[in-house]
């Protein structure tokens, strides 16, 4: 009996979806707008995160060691630092490496090459390049180093760069918060628009719902087809939204890549196609069915 009812509910849902042609189409179009906003927010976050990560990647501090510092000593400090939670990555640059890098950089400058040759020994010391997980953590890392008062350390360039690092970390934080806030507000608006559209669509069935109750239909049996319709609106809308994204990203992807230097959104769309599609279908179906449930509730009180 339950199975028969479920089959009937689904069948009626499909029939109503088809017979309410224009109303279904209008609802789907509004839903497309909602899902388009959702999709854009997802893509926007991808872009924002990539850009911010890139920016953050540019921030680091370097610890310079004195020329007479022993390699083992430097490695020991490196290992110690690597154990810190805040540290993401440490690159050890030996004195020889520093010299060859320096030479490479000034290949065309004969004067520098010549004066380097005149020096018997390497004037550059080894160094450690430290990247923190979060720019705000450079302060504590450099404090840790200063506190351990290692005699072989020549200098830490954190203090010089402090202003820039702090400002950048502030910008990163603000950008993330703003991105999150925008996502929240826009999704809320999109949800309300979709919800109200479905509510209006169901309002036209208000009297019919009363009649159904009076001829002895249970609330669940009446609601079922509306929920099925809502899910269908969501699925169709997700489908259309994905189709719209294709040409749009094909055009916009390379442009955004040039401007932000971030990932190509079109490539992201292609490689995450099913994931993105899945999210949109889920959001659409959930919104559609939930709106139907809420909208029918008040008419079922008879």
């Amino acid at each position: 009996m339950l199975l028969i009812k479920i089959r009937r509910v689904i069948k009626v849902g499909f029939i109503n979806f088809w017979r309410n042609g224009w109303l279904s189409l209008a609802t789907i179009l509004v839903m497309v707008i909602t899902l388009f906003v959702f999709g854009s927010l997802i893509l926007g976050r991808v872009l924002l995160n990539a850009t911010l990560a890139q920016l953050q990647d540019k921030v680091d501090i370097t610890v310079y060691f004195k020329t007479d510092a022993k390699e083992e000593e430097v490695i020991a400090i490196k290992d110690k630092l690597a154990k810190l939670n805040e540290v993401q990555d440490i690159i050890y640059i030996s004195a020889d490496k520093a010299l060859s890098d320096f030479k490479d950089r000034h290949l065309n400058n004969a004067l520098i090459a010549q004066s380097l040759d005149e020096l018997a020994e390497n004037p550059l010391g080894a160094s450690l390049n430290i990247k923190a997980k979060d720019p705000a953590q450079y302060e504590s890392i450099s404090r840790f180093l200063e506190a351990s008062a290692i005699s072989s350390i020549d200098k830490i360039n954190y203090r010089q760069n402090k202003v820039v690092i702090d400002r950048l970390s502030g910008i990163l934080k603000a950008a993330r918060t703003a991105g999150f806030g925008t996502t929240l507000v826009l999704s809320l608006i999109a949800i309300l628009v979709a919800f109200n559209t479905i509510r209006l669509a169901i309002f036209t069935s208000k009297d019919e719902i009363t009649v159904m109750r009076l001829v002895g239909a249970s609330s669940r049996y009446i609601r079922g087809p509306f929920v099925v319709e809502g899910v269908m609106h969501g699925v169709f809308a997700a489908f259309i939204t994905m189709i719209i994204f294709y040409p749009l990203l094909l055009w916009l992807g390379p442009l955004a890549e040039q401007f932000f230097g971030g990932p190509n959104l079109f490539a992201y769309y292609v490689s995450n196609f099913f994931q993105l599609f899945g999210i949109l279908i889920l959001v659409g179906a959930f919104l559609g069915s939930l709106s139907s449930l809420i909208a029918t509730r008040r008419y079922l009180k008879v």
Partner: protein
């Protein structure tokens, strides 16, 4: 079968729809409820169907207090009462056939059961050739016959008809009343609310007259007198 026990319905202090109404309906009875517009006929039927709650008093269907039922239990009561309205109240997005079948589907009947029963009642009301028409493609009389078919298809114990002929011409009126009489003859109780004098006089059955929310007359084999 149905028992109204001191029922009052007060919408607002200045508008009392029913005032201390008590009466009972016996099984297989054909009872006409007459009175002018605004006398309280429709309110009385709405209370019986639990579409609205009484301000005071109780309404029993058999031994069940109608208003003690929860929203989940109400459908089971309503499946035993078929209702017909002045404005037909068909489901506009469903065909005549589907409108009739809906009452049975909602009750969880099997497909074979539905097919045979719906075809049968379509024959009874004479609409076999219009079964796939939508309500807006039917005339008033045809719509009302679909509504009656929907009301009787679940073989209810009671048919409640609220001014079923109010929007119909004399010919259709006679046909609808004939159908109701036939239903009554095969053992279904009928409660007919109407203000059509000719209909009531032609029936010659029990008549309850209400005026300003009170029962002022209750005659067996009565006539329409106001």
């Amino acid at each position: 079968m149905v028992y109204f026990d001191k029922v009052s319905k007060i919408y607002s202090p200045t508008s009392t729809a029913l005032d201390d109404v008590s009466f009972s309906i016996e099984p297989q009875e054909f009872l006409s409820l007459v009175g002018q517009s605004g006398a309280g006929k429709t309110t009385l039927l709405k209370l019986l169907l639990a579409e609205e709650k009484p301000t005071s008093g109780k309404i029993f269907f058999e031994s069940q207090d109608v208003h003690a039922l929860s929203r989940g239990e109400l459908p089971f009561l309503r499946r035993r009462i078929g209702c017909v309205f002045q404005d037909f109240r068909l489901l506009s997005s469903k065909t005549a056939y589907e409108n009739i079948a809906f009452a049975m589907e909602a009750a969880g009947r099997t497909d074979e059961d539905i097919n045979s029963s719906v075809s049968q009642v379509l024959e009874v009301v004479g609409l076999v050739d219009k079964s796939w028409h939508f309500p807006h493609e039917l005339s008033g009389g045809e719509k009302q016959r679909v509504a009656i078919a929907r009301a009787i298809v679940n073989q209810p114990d009671l048919i409640v008809a609220d001014e079923p002929t109010g929007n119909l011409d004399p010919l259709n009126t006679r046909e609808i009343i004939e159908v109701l009489k036939k239903i009554n003859e095969i053992g279904t109780t009928v409660l007919l609310a109407t203000h059509n004098k000719d209909v009531v006089n032609a029936l010659g059955k029990r008549v309850i007259t209400i005026e300003k929310g009170k029962i002022i007359r209750d005659d067996k084999g009565g006539r329409y007198v106001i």
